[in-house]
C-alpha cells in the first residue's frame, strides 16, 4: 500500500535525521586518549561490554535518527492509500455532489431545519476538498436535470451560500445515474461522489419502489461515495395530498384528503380553506398512523372565477406539504357528456357520475350521438361513449380535434357496438393503439362468466381496493366481453383473464371491454362499480389535466386565438412575482400556451398583452416526498454496498474520512506515538549507559 504525504514540504525535515550522526561523528573526535599501564583488565571486562555498549550506542543513534526522521515524516502528514498511484498530483480530483434540495429538506429538525444542516455539511465537504478540485452539483428532482459545474471548490462554496431548498421531489437513483455519467466523463484520477440528503426511504425513485437497488452499479469503477445523511430519524408528518373544488353552484365544497406518515396518528388536525385572508371553510380530521383520511369542507360562499383558493392543514414538521392550491376553474365541475343511443339509454352511468344531479364532481349531460356533429365542445372535458353504435363521420372529425386539444374520452362497449366500425373508424381516430377482437362469452348470465381482476394493482383506479393481480376486485359476473388488443402505449389496468384486457388506458382515453349498462354483466349493481369508475376517470383526467400542475412542470393550456392578439407579449407570473417565459403553439382549437417550469407552488397566470388568459394552481408533488422516514444505515449499505461507500453521520468530521479515502488514512498520530516511544527508549538506554 503506497504512501502519500499531505505536507510534502515538511519532508525536508528528514535531513534533521543527520544531526545525531553528525553529533556522533563530532563527539568521536573528542575522545581522549590515555596511556595506561595495561589494558589487560579492560580487555577482559570490556570486550563483551564494549561490544554491547557499542551496539547500544548504535541502537541509541539509530533511535535518534529514526525519531527525527519519523517526526519529519509525521509533519509531512503521511497517509496510506489503497488505489492511489504514488506520485500523482493531488489536484486530479473530480467531485460530484448530490445536494438534496427537495422540499422534504425544508422539514424542521430537532436542532435546525434539515436544509440548514445540509448546507453546513455541504460546506464542510467543500472545505475538505483541494482548491483545484472540480465540483459538479447534481440535483435530485426527477423533473430537472440540474447539473452545474464549478472549476474550483471556492466557486462551489460561493454558489452554496445563496442556495435555497427547492420544492421538487427526490429521485436519488436518477441523480446517482447522472452523477455516474458526469464522473465517467471526468479524466481525473480521484472520482468522488458526495450525497447530502435526508435519504428518505421513498426517495430512491420509481424504479426502486419494490426494493433497495444497488446504486453503486450505476457509478464508474473506482468512484468513492460519501453518504452524508442529515436526517434526524423518522419524523412524523401529515400532508395534504388532495384539495379540489367539488359540487354545483348551489353546493360548493372542497374535498380534502390528508395522509399521515409515521407511527403516530395525527389527532384533530384542522383543515381550513382560505381565499386570501378570508376563511371559507374549516373541518377537523383525525388521521391514523400510516393512513389517509378525507373530508368535505362546505364553503361559506362560492369562490369567484379565478379566485385563488387554498386549503391548509395545521402546521407540522413539514409546512410545505400542508398547503394545497385549489384550482377553481370558474365552473361547477368537470363538464361531461354521456353519449348514448336514444333507443335504449342506460341509467347506470349518468347516475354513477352524477348521483345527486349537479352536485357531483361531474357536470353531466346526456345526449345523442348525432348531437356531437354540432354541439359546442369547448367547455367539455369528458365525453363518455356508452354502448354507442356509431358516430357520424363529421362528429368523429370534431372529436378528434377536441381530443387533440385535451378532451378525455371514456368508451364502454355493449350489445349495440359495431365492432368493425369501431376498429375501422372510431378507435383509430379517437383511441389509437386499441382494436377490438372477437366477442367472447355468452348472452346469458347463467352461463360461464369472467371476473374483473387488476392488472396494475398500484394504479390510482384501485385505490382503496385490496388489489392483487389475479384476485377479483369485485364479485360481479361478466358473461359477455370483447377481446381487446392494445399496443404497448396503451396500459392494461384490469383484465378478465390472462390476455383479456378489461380496462385499458391510453393518453386521455379509457376503454372498458364490456358493457356498463347491465346487459353483459351485473357490474353496475356491485359496490365496486362506483369507486372503480370514479377513480379510473380521476386518474385519467388528472394525468391529462392541465389544471393539476406540480412544481417543476409547465403551466399550459389551450386558449382561443382571439384572446392572444398577434405579437402580444406572453408572460407567466408566479405567486411571488416570478416571471416565466411562455411559448405558443397553434392547435386546432386555438393556441396552446406553454410556460417554463414552475419553480414554487402557488397560483400562476399566463397573460397575453397584460390580460390573464390562463390561471393554474401549481402544487407540490405530494406523496412519497412527504414521507420523512429515512433509510437506516443497513438499508443505506444495501443501496450503496461495498467498501467504497462510506456513511458520515452528523457529528463526524467530513474532512478526515475524505482525506483518508483520497490520500489514504493519515498516520501522523501513530508516528508521533512511535517517536515518543523511540525517545523514551533512547532516554532509558542513554541513562542506563551514563549510570
Amino acid at each position: 500500500m503506497p504512501f502519500s504525504f499531505l505536507n510534502v514540504a515538511f519532508l525536508a525535515g528528514i535531513a534533521a535525521a543527520a544531526i545525531p550522526i553528525l553529533i556522533h561523528l563530532f563527539s568521536r573526535r573528542k575522545v581522549s586518549r590515555v596511556s595506561f599501564s595495561s589494558i589487560r583488565f579492560l580487555e577482559e571486562i570490556a570486550r563483551r561490554r564494549v561490544r554491547r555498549m557499542r551496539l547500544t550506542q548504535w541502537i541509541i543513534l539509530a533511535l535518534r535518527v529514526l525519531a527525527l526522521a519519523l517526526l519529519a515524516l509525521a509533519l509531512g502528514r503521511p497517509a496510506l492509500r489503497g488505489d492511489f498511484v504514488f506520485g500523482k498530483s493531488r489536484g486530479e480530483s473530480a467531485v460530484a455532489m448530490i445536494l438534496d434540495r427537495s422540499y422534504s429538506m425544508r422539514a424542521e429538525g430537532e436542532r435546525a431545519p434539515l436544509w440548514e444542516t445540509a448546507k453546513d455539511r455541504c460546506g464542510e465537504a467543500l472545505d475538505a476538498l483541494q482548491p483545484e478540485d472540480t465540483v459538479t452539483w447534481i440535483g435530485v428532482d426527477p423533473r430537472s436535470t440540474e447539473v452545474e459545474s464549478f472549476p474550483t471548490r471556492f466557486a462551489a462554496s460561493d454558489a452554496l451560500r445563496g442556495l435555497e431548498a427547492g420544492y421538487g421531489t427526490t429521485d436519488l437513483a436518477a441523480a446517482v445515474r447522472r452523477a455516474g455519467a458526469v464522473l465517467a466523463d471526468a479524466t481525473a484520477l480521484n472520482k468522488e461522489l458526495f450525497v447530502i440528503s435526508d435519504f428518505q426511504k421513498t426517495g430512491l425513485g420509481p424504479d426502486t419502489e419494490s426494493g433497495l437497488t444497488d446504486l453503486m452499479a450505476d457509478l464508474p469503477a473506482g468512484v468513492r461515495v460519501f453518504l452524508i445523511p442529515v436526517d434526524e430519524g423518522p419524523l412524523p408528518n401529515t400532508a395534504l395530498e388532495t384539495a379540489r373544488l367539488e359540487g354545483s353552484a348551489m353546493d360548493k365544497r372542497v374535498h380534502a384528503e390528508a395522509v399521515r406518515h409515521g407511527s403516530e396518528a395525527a389527532d384533530q388536525v384542522t383543515v381550513t380553506v382560505e381565499a386570501g385572508k378570508e376563511v371559507l371553510g374549516e373541518a377537523m380530521l383525525t388521521v391514523l398512523a400510516d393512513s389517509r383520511e378525507s373530508t368535505d369542507i362546505p364553503l361559506t360562499r362560492f369562490p369567484g372565477d379565478g379566485e385563488e383558493l387554498l386549503a391548509r392543514l395545521s402546521r407540522d414538521r413539514l409546512p410545505e406539504d400542508d398547503v394545497r392550491y385549489v384550482p377553481t376553474g370558474g365552473s361547477g365541475g368537470i363538464v361531461t357528456w354521456i353519449v348514448q343511443d336514444p333507443a335504449s339509454p342506460s341509467p347506470f352511468l349518468p347516475l354513477a357520475l352524477s348521483p345527486a344531479g349537479e352536485t357531483g364532481q361531474f357536470q353531466t349531460r346526456r345526449m345523442n350521438p348525432d348531437e356531437l356533429v354540432s354541439a359546442d365542445l369547448s367547455r367539455v372535458k369528458l365525453i363518455v361513449l356508452d354502448n354507442v353504435t356509431m358516430v357520424a363521420r363529421e362528429a368523429i372529425m370534431r372529436l378528434r380535434q377536441w381530443r387533440a386539444a385535451g378532451g378525455a374520452l371514456f368508451i364502454s362497449l355493449g350489445d349495440r357496438v359495431d365492432l368493425r366500425y369501431y376498429n375501422e373508424s372510431l378507435l383509430p381516430a379517437l383511441f389509437p393503439g386499441v382494436s377490438l377482437g372477437n366477442l367472447l362469452g355468452t348472452d346469458e348470465a347463467t352461463g360461464s362468466s369472467y371476473t374483473l381482476t387488476p392488472r396494475a394493482p398500484g394504479h390510482q383506479a384501485f385505490s382503496g381496493f385490496e388489489a392483487q393481480v389475479g384476485s377479483p376486485v369485485t364479485g360481479a359476473s361478466f358473461w359477455r366481453i370483447v377481446e381487446v388488443k392494445n399496443t404497448p402505449g396503451v396500459r392494461t389496468l384490469a383484465e378478465f383473464g390472462p390476455g383479456l384486457p378489461a380496462l385499458v388506458q391510453g393518453d386521455g382515453a379509457l376503454l372498458f371491454a364490456s358493457s356498463l349498462d347491465g346487459t353483459w354483466n351485473n357490474f353496475p349493481t356491485h359496490a365496486a362499480f362506483l369507486p372503480l369508475l370514479h377513480q379510473s376517470l380521476d386518474a385519467m383526467l388528472s394525468e391529462g389535466s392541465e389544471e393539476h400542475v406540480v412544481v417543476g412542470e409547465s403551466v399550459e393550456g389551450v386558449v382561443d386565438r382571439s384572446l392572444v392578439p398577434t405579437g402580444a407579449e406572453l408572460v407567466c407570473t408566479g405567486p411571488k412575482g416570478q416571471v416565466l417565459g411562455v411559448s405558443s403553439q397553434a392547435v386546432p382549437r386555438g393556441l396552446r400556451l406553454h410556460s417554463e417550469p414552475a419553480p414554487v407552488p402557488g397560483f400562476y397566470t399566463i397573460q397575453a398583452a397584460g390580460r390573464p388568459v390562463i390561471q393554474r394552481a401549481v402544487n407540490l408533488d405530494t406523496g412519497p416526498e412527504s414521507d420523512l422516514t429515512p433509510l437506516t444505515d443497513d438499508e443505506l449499505r444495501r443501496v450503496f454496498p461495498g467498501p467504497r461507500a462510506r456513511i458520515i453521520r452528523a457529528g463526524s468530521s467530513i474532512g478526515t474520512p475524505v482525506r483518508e479515502a483520497r490520500y489514504g488514512r493519515e498516520i501522523w498520530r501513530e508516528l508521533i506515538v512511535v517517536v515518543l516511544l523511540l525517545l523514551v527508549t533512547e532516554g532509558w538506554l542513554s541513562r542506563r549507559g551514563v549510570s
Partner: protein
C-alpha cells in the same frame, strides 16, 4: 619545623621526587626513616668477634665478656670485626607499564627507583651486601651484591640510567635470576606485576625453593586501583601499544572487582609460600617499605 620533622618529610614520595639525585634522595629518605625510629635496635649485629678491650663508661653491658671477667676480675668488652652475612638483591621491573603515572604523581618506575635507592642506602648502612637486578622480558642488568660503601654509587648510577621500555616477561627473567643467585639471601622485588600471575609466582617459588627470603613490593598507581576515569577514553597499552576505546564508567565497577581479585590472588599465594607481599601505591610513604625490610632482616637474624 624541627630537624627531625624536616627529615621525615622525605618519606613522602612527592617531596622526595623534588630532590635532585638518587643519592640525596636515598640518604634523606633513610635518615628521615632512622630519625623516626628514635633508636636503632639493629646496629652491630652482623659482626664477627675480633678482640677484647677494656670496658669504658658508656659501653653497652651487653658486650661485656662475663667469662673473662670471671677469670680476670676485669671488665672487658668484645670487639667485633664488621662482616655481613646478609646478601640482598633488589629486583626492579623495567617493563613499559612501570612508566605509567596518573596526573601529578610519580611513575611507578620512579617510585620503585627511589625505593630501591633508599633500600640500598639503608642496607649498606647496615653492612649488608646489596645487589641490583633490572629486568624486562629478560634480565637487563645484574649487579652482584657487595657490602662496600662505594658500591652504592654503582647501584645508584644504574638506577639513574634505567628507563622502563620493553614488555614484561617476569617469569622468564626471574627464573633466570633464581638460577644465578646461588647463595641464600633476601630478594626484594619491585614491580607492578603486570604479567601472568602464574609465571610470576612460579619464579618466586623458585626463589623460595632456594631458601631465599622474598619480599614483593607490588607498586601500583592510585588510578590503577580506583579507575576514576569519567570520560569516554581510548586506553593505550604502554607495553603493547594496543588501544581500547571504552566508556570507563561503564566498566569501572567490574574493573575494580577484577583488579582487587588479581591483587588479592598475589597476596594469597605469596602468603601461602611465605613470601612477603607489600602493596604500595605511588603515594605510599617510603618508610612502609623500609620498615618491612628491617622487619624481614630482624626475622632473618
Amino acid at each position: 619545623m624541627s630537624v627531625g620533622e624536616s627529615s621525615l618529610q622525605y618519606l613522602d614520595p612527592r617531596v622526595a621526587s623534588k630532590l635532585g639525585g638518587l643519592d640525596l634522595i636515598a640518604r634523606l629518605v633513610v635518615e628521615g626513616f632512622m630519625t623516626g625510629l628514635h633508636k636503632s635496635p639493629y646496629h652491630g649485629f652482623s659482626v664477627e668477634f675480633a678482640e677484647h678491650r677494656q670496658y669504658m663508661p658508656g659501653d653497652s653491658l651487653r658486650h661485656v665478656d662475663w667469662k673473662l671477667y670471671g677469670k680476670s676480675d676485669r671488665f672487658y668488652v668484645k670487639i667485633f670485626e664488621e662482616e655481613t652475612n646478609l646478601r640482598s638483591h633488589l629486583l626492579l621491573d623495567l617493563s613499559a607499564s612501570m612508566g605509567y603515572a596518573s596526573p601529578g604523581r610519580l611513575t611507578k618506575f620512579q617510585y620503585a627507583s627511589f625505593l630501591a635507592a633508599a633500600l640500598a642506602y639503608l642496607m649498606l648502612k647496615q653492612q649488608d651486601a646489596v645487589g641490583l637486578l633490572t629486568f624486562t622480558d629478560r634480565v637487563e642488568r645484574l649487579i652482584p651484591p657487595r657490602a662496600a660503601r662505594t658500591h652504592l654509587r654503582l647501584l645508584l648510577n644504574e638506577l639513574d640510567r634505567a628507563t622502563p621500555a620493553r614488555s614484561t616477561d617476569m617469569g622468564t627473567a626471574l627464573e633466570s635470576l633464581a638460577e644465578r643467585v646461588k647463595r641464600r639471601g633476601l630478594i626484594m622485588l619491585m614491580s607492578d606485576l603486570m604479567d601472568e600471575p602464574a609465571s610470576v609466582l612460579r619464579a618466586l617459588k623458585h626463589f623460595r625453593h632456594r631458601q631465599h627470603e622474598v619480599v614483593v613490593f607490588h607498586i601500583l598507581d592510585p588510578y590503577e586501583i580506583a579507575f576514576p576515569f569519567r570520560q569516554e577514553t581510548g586506553f593505550v597499552d604502554l607495553e603493547t601499544g594496543q588501544e581500547l576505546l571504552t566508556q570507563p564508567w561503564e566498566i569501572a565497577d567490574q574493573y575494580r572487582e577484577r583488579f582487587e581479585a588479581w591483587s588479592k590472588a598475589y597476596a594469597r599465594v605469596c602468603l601461602e609460600n611465605r613470601i612477603e607481599y607489600v602493596r604500595l601505591s605511588t603515594e605510599t610513604p617510603f618508610d612502609v617499605a623500609l620498615l618491612r625490610y628491617l622487619e624481614k632482616r630482624k626475622r632473618l637474624h
